[in-house]
């Protein structure tokens, strides 16, 4: 399992859009110190570990928050690195056929895990921005829901591949 490579098929357009999203995500990951983040989207990534004990929740946060957010940054950097070739259009940025070309991205297990955690985190952040409170929340006229669902499609596909044969 550890030596298995996961191969993702992705169009250059998808790779380019995902790169933008992950870069925005990485920018969001400012460490607010020992306090809970003010941004609810960021706060969702580092929730209170004690719902009925504020002192214990604070102590847990002071011990874990920095490490969790650092790990998110490391994951995001790993995803961006693996996307680099597929997202790069070089001098063909005006060439529409280039956008629909399918590229192959090869991930080792560590990179695949970074993808999983990052895709899941991107969905949590987007859901917070979109105010998704129910699994069936959807608005056809808001393209961000399309992105949210595309992230889910990609995440589900990756989970399936990693679960095969185990």
């Amino acid at each position: 399992m550890t030596d298995r490579l996961v191969v993702l098929e992705i169009t250059r357009m998808e790779a380019s859009h995902l790169t933008q999203l992950v870069m925005q995500f990485a920018d969001l990951l400012d460490d607010p110190g020992d306090r809970a983040p003010d941004d609810p989207a960021l706060a969702r990534l580092v929730p209170d570990a004690y719902s009925d004990n504020p002192a214990a929740a604070r102590e847990f946060r002071s011990l874990t928050q920095r490490e969790l957010l650092d790990r998110r940054s490391t994951d995001a950097a790993a995803v961006l690195a693996s996307l680099h070739g597929a997202a790069d259009l070089g001098d063909r940025s005006d060439d529409e056929s280039a956008l629909t070309e399918v590229e192959l991205i090869r991930l080792d297990r560590d990179a695949a895990d970074a993808w999983l955690r990052t895709l899941a985190a991107l969905r949590l952040v987007l859901a917070s921005r979109l105010g998704i409170a129910d699994e069936d929340d959807h608005h056809d006229d808001d393209p961000r829901f399309g992105i949210y669902e595309w992230l889910g499609y990609r995440l589900d596909g990756l989970v399936r591949v990693l679960g095969e044969g185990s």
């Binding site: 969702r44 990534l45 580092v46 929730p47 209170d48 570990a49 004690y50 719902s51 009925d52 214990a56 847990f60 874990t64 969790l68 790990r71 999983l116 955690r117 899941a120 985190a121 969905r123 949590l124 859901a127 998704i132 409170a133 129910d134 699994e135 929340d137 889910g152 995440l155 589900d156 989970v159 399936r160 990693l162 679960g163 185990s166």
Partner: protein, 97 residues
């Protein structure tokens, strides 16, 4: 002899009380995380069988939460931290008496 036995019993009882405090890691339902992803996390991190991971995922989904681990407090905090790392919403609590 008798006194000594009583002392020993008391020590045993005290140890039991301190170590017997059971804590839980609880995973809560959210409208975002995919069922397949939650099963993957339970299998990948805890090493649960597919059946057990699916049962716990469904408990989270239908009951709103599930106890995924029980034991010492420090261990439950490690589990909660790991769940947060995956993006799951987890808390630690003392097991209801």
């Amino acid at each position: 002899m008798v006194a000594s036995t009583e002392t020993d019993e008391r020590v045993v009882l005290d140890t039991t009380t301190a170590a017997g405090r059971v804590w839980q890691t609880v995973v809560w339902n959210d409208p975002v995380n995919l069922m397949s992803y939650v099963v993957h996390v339970f299998r990948d991190y805890f090493g649960f069988s597919r059946e057990k991971a699916e049962r716990l995922m469904l408990a989270v989904h239908h009951d709103g939460h599930a106890i995924v681990a029980e034991g010492a407090r420090e261990q439950m905090e490690l589990h909660a931290r790991a769940m947060h790392d995956y993006g799951l919403w987890a808390t630690v609590r003392e097991a209801p008496q």
